[in-house]
Amino acid sequence: MDFGFVLSQILTGLSSASSLFLIASGLTIIFGVTRIVNFAHGSLYMLGAYCAYTATESLMAILGSSLGFWVGILLTAVFVGLIGLFLEFFLLRWLYKSPELFQLLATFGVVLIVQDLVPFLWGGEDLLGPRAPGFKGAIEILGWSFPRYELFMILIGPCIWGGLWLLFHKTRWGILVRAATEDRETVATLGINQAWLFRSVLFLGAFLAGLAGALQLPKEPANSLMDINIIAEAFVVTVIGGMGSVTGAFLAALLIGLLQAFGILIFPKITLVFIFLVMAFVLMIRPNGLLGKYQTVETYSKQNEGPHDLTFITLPRIFITLGVCALLPLGLGDFEIFVLTEILVFALFAFSLNFLMGFGGMISFGHAAYFGLGAYAAALMTHHFQAGLPLALFASPILPLIAAALFGWFCTRMSGVYLAMLTLAFAQILWSIAFQWVALTGGDNGLIGIWPPKILSDRLLFYYFALSLIGFVFILLYKITLSPFGLLLRAARDSSKRLSADGVHVGHLRWAAFLIAGASAGLAGGLYSFAKGSIDPHILSIPLSVDGLSMVLMGGIQTLLGPLMGSAALTFLKTTVMSLTENWRFFMGSAIVFLVLVFPRGLVGSLIHVFALRKAARSEKTERSS
């Protein structure tokens, strides 16, 4: 390896670091001030690339290639910034008062909408944009050709970083934004108009995402997979840097860019999993990222007053619910029963996630890891050991249990978004293993031929089989929630410091909750693979984790029956819309946005809230009359 090559590889790493920083800076700024985990940031980036294509194409014809290109890039960034503003105005600002995760769910709805909007507006083909005028071709560095545009990209990163530093440290606006990042309430008390502060921050963040997308155009054609491909990486860089820290994001981007450039020389197959390994490693050493500050606010404090149905749900009522579930499939066809089975299976998945989130106070962005592992455990038992359904289903919670023990040990050391991001990292690592270990898992083709035995091959019988298992686990989870352990867990969620002071080992409590949630999700996964007959790495992926989150949130976090309602709503919606139209992502996204706006406590949560209001009104009346 000669020196010229090493230098050239370093420059390549620096260039990709710049790209990463551009996309991550906007994300981290938005999070720092508004606490919104913006899943739609990748969509803004994609819109940036598409808009830049249209803008440069038309402007280069009018203004000449050089001026037209750069004006086009700038206009695009401003335009995408305005889209961010639009999102804030019509969607996000209505959600500042609902639980934090609702904003995440809303932005996920936006992701789905944009995914269908883009092919509608620009067509399905990849759009290869122009090369940057003035930066075509390459220069020679010690015998190695190096593209001029990459050199330009290397410069743009530090420029943006410097510009942001000046903006945040030398302008009044920047000082206010930093103050709001530190302590929102105090800033509000001082009479600062927070709404406009938030709005301008969203504009800036979206502007940066648009700029990142537009500047990507000379390197990559605008295509409809850009959003999904970038979002995980953007999160990783943001988290490694420390959420909210621009300088941290800059350092993290450098770290990732350089490690990646040399990593692929040594391990060419490691590309998929690489950045997640780096993230897990960094978080283990620095639980708040490189430059992140310790989160002073307890993440769940705002939701602790949220509605719950623990007093409403009793064992007889659970049996009535199960009875209704048993009556539902009568008289329906195979397909409808199949959908009902899916609803039940996802309900168990959502129950387990809700146990972790709603009662344990630990947000997981990677719960699909346990669901998927359970499914793979069952499928692998069937495939490699010719085990029957009982043995395969028995194995399905065990593998996730082991994984949960391992991951939980690391995750329970952190809190809030960092915990969520670490769960995401672990899920992505498992996903990459399933994706790449073709000999064992079949790679992206997955495993097929996982059917229940003849006796259960009838869809109705399988439904009852699943119902009895899931009902049993649900009652178990219900009992655990109400047990002393469950009470302690909720106490740890509401005030972990006080509980620690009382001599309870909060870490162990949370770890146990991880194990329980992991094993139940695993059983759901096992049932799922037998219901479908085949699985692929999709069931370990981010979209499935988000599905789980959506179900919990749509149903009502902290409620026992919420997950069932959420699963029913989401699965039913998807099934219906998918059989009616190919633009199902658009309608799903719109439906999620609609539900989030109309039922900010989730379906069951809102219902309980109404009951509570009625009850309060009634007791007030009786008090007055007496």
Binding site: Q9, G124, W144, E220, T271, L332, D444, M578, R601, S606
Partner: protein, 406 residues
């Protein structure tokens, strides 16, 4: 403070009951029609799947204008497969149990293709895989209900190696996306190199993540080993990034590149005037094929849809042609009769005579091999020839050995 009103409850109830009514009450199935179900990744990969759908729709209209099949109208229900196996299986279940379709066809991704093949076996219904390339579909994972139209990864790699071996290059590099298709293409290439180019060696291998190539670093890593020639499996956005970086960093200067699928209009069109020049590729030179049968197809397609045919169009057209021919031969859509009709089915298509082999249920549709060039601002193929699949696919005896016992 947020107030919750009974209007919200009412809205929810109305929404749910409307949905319930739409989904669970409408049964469209008329029992005596010839009804088929098609599913593909229409919303995720429209570039490839829309031409495919236009292809079979053209054939469907031709059939019904000519009076249908067996005196009945042919009907096709079409759905999005969600581009993953779990959605695909649910949609297939819907097509089979609610729409009462008697046969499934479609898919382009290997994972949905394999999952549906398995589903077909479980449900004892025929599945004609149109576009998935995975070799396993008709070999290790093959079953008696599943048939495939397009030539597999191995077959297309073999077509390329047959031309590549004449280049006399010794030092080869491989770049392939890191998933099953990329890995099996690389594996097939390595095996074929050992067999046909004994003095050649593989000096570099790069497997960037699908859709996430770090193109600059990948190009550098290849340059480091100074290969004489490159075998490329990248496509789509990854290939576009790789092309620009490789061009700037002189990767392609004085090097032969042999590339899978790159000559298909679906992929090469998006590169416009920056399409690679002089690469050896498989693809579809639709504008130059002079065969009268193909000319007729091309004109009919362009008249009907007002756009040029893509490879997907041809695959869609041939897929439905195979099904229609089998229905005529079987005299019904009954599964048993259809399976025996499909085995050793021979038919005339726009690209000549095609056979559905009885040993591995694979159609002998071939591919075109040639060098790329730029013409009118678009990449096209030149010096091409049609590579008949029969000459390159795994032999019928070997295929039969690889398939699981029925």
């Amino acid at each position: 403070m947020y107030k919750f009103s009974s209007a919200h409850v009412a809205a929810l109830l109305v929404a749910v009951s409307v949905l319930w009514a739409v989904v669970f009450s409408v049964h469209h199935a008329a029992a005596d029609d010839l009804k088929l179900g098609d599913l593909n990744s229409y919303s995720r990969f429209p570039t490839f799947t829309e031409p495919y759908r236009k292809g079979w729709k053209l054939k469907l209209e031709e059939i019904n204008q000519a009076g249908g099949l067996l005196g009945k109208k042919l009907d096709v229900e079409t759905r999005d497969d969600g581009a993953n196996t779990s959605d695909a299986v649910r949609v297939a279940e819907e097509l089979v149990s609610r729409e009462n379709v008697k046969l499934l066809f479609g898919t382009m991704l290997s994972n949905t293709g394999l999952a549906l093949a398995d589903f077909a076996q479980q449900k004892e219904i025929i599945f004609i895989a149109a576009e998935p390339l995975s070799d396993a579909l008709t070999l290790e994972k093959g079953n008696q209900f599943t048939f495939r139209v397009r030539p597999s990864t191995y077959t297309q790699t073999a077509m390329l190696v047959d031309v590549a071996k004449k280049l006399g290059k010794k030092r080869w590099a491989i770049v392939a996306p890191n998933y099953e298709y990329g890995q099996s293409a690389a594996k097939a290439f390595k095996a074929l190199v050992t067999e046909h180019m004994p003095d050649a060696e593989i000096v570099a291998e790069q497997y960037p993540a699908l859709g996430k190539i770090d193109a600059g670093a990948t190009v550098q890593a290849l340059l480091l080993e100074k290969p004489d020639a490159i075998f490329n499996v990248l496509f789509g956005g990854d290939l576009a990034k790789f092309l620009r970086e490789g061009e700037d960093r002189t990767l392609f200067k004085d090097r032969e590149v042999v590339s899978l699928l790159t000559g298909e209009p679906e992929w090469i069109d998006s590169f416009k005037e920056e399409a690679p020049v002089g690469w050896l590729v498989t693809g579809y030179p639709w504008h130059e094929i002079q065969d009268p049968a193909h000319k007729a197809f091309q004109e009919a397609y362009q008249n009907r849809w007002d756009e040029k045919p893509h490879l997907g169009s041809l695959v869609g057209y041939i897929t439905l042609s195979i099904i229609a021919e089998a229905i005529e031969k079987a005299g019904s859509l009954e599964t048993e009769a259809m399976i025996s009709a499909l085995k050793d089915l021979e038919l005339e298509t726009p690209i000549g005579k095609i056979l559905v082999r009885k040993e591995d249920h694979q159609a002998t549709m071939g591919a075109w091999v040639g060098r790329t060039k730029i013409q009118n601002g678009l990449g096209v193929m030149s010096d091409w020839h049609y590579a008949p699949a029969e000459d390159y696919m795994i032999s019928a005896e070997d295929a039969a050995k690889k398939r699981p016992a029925p």
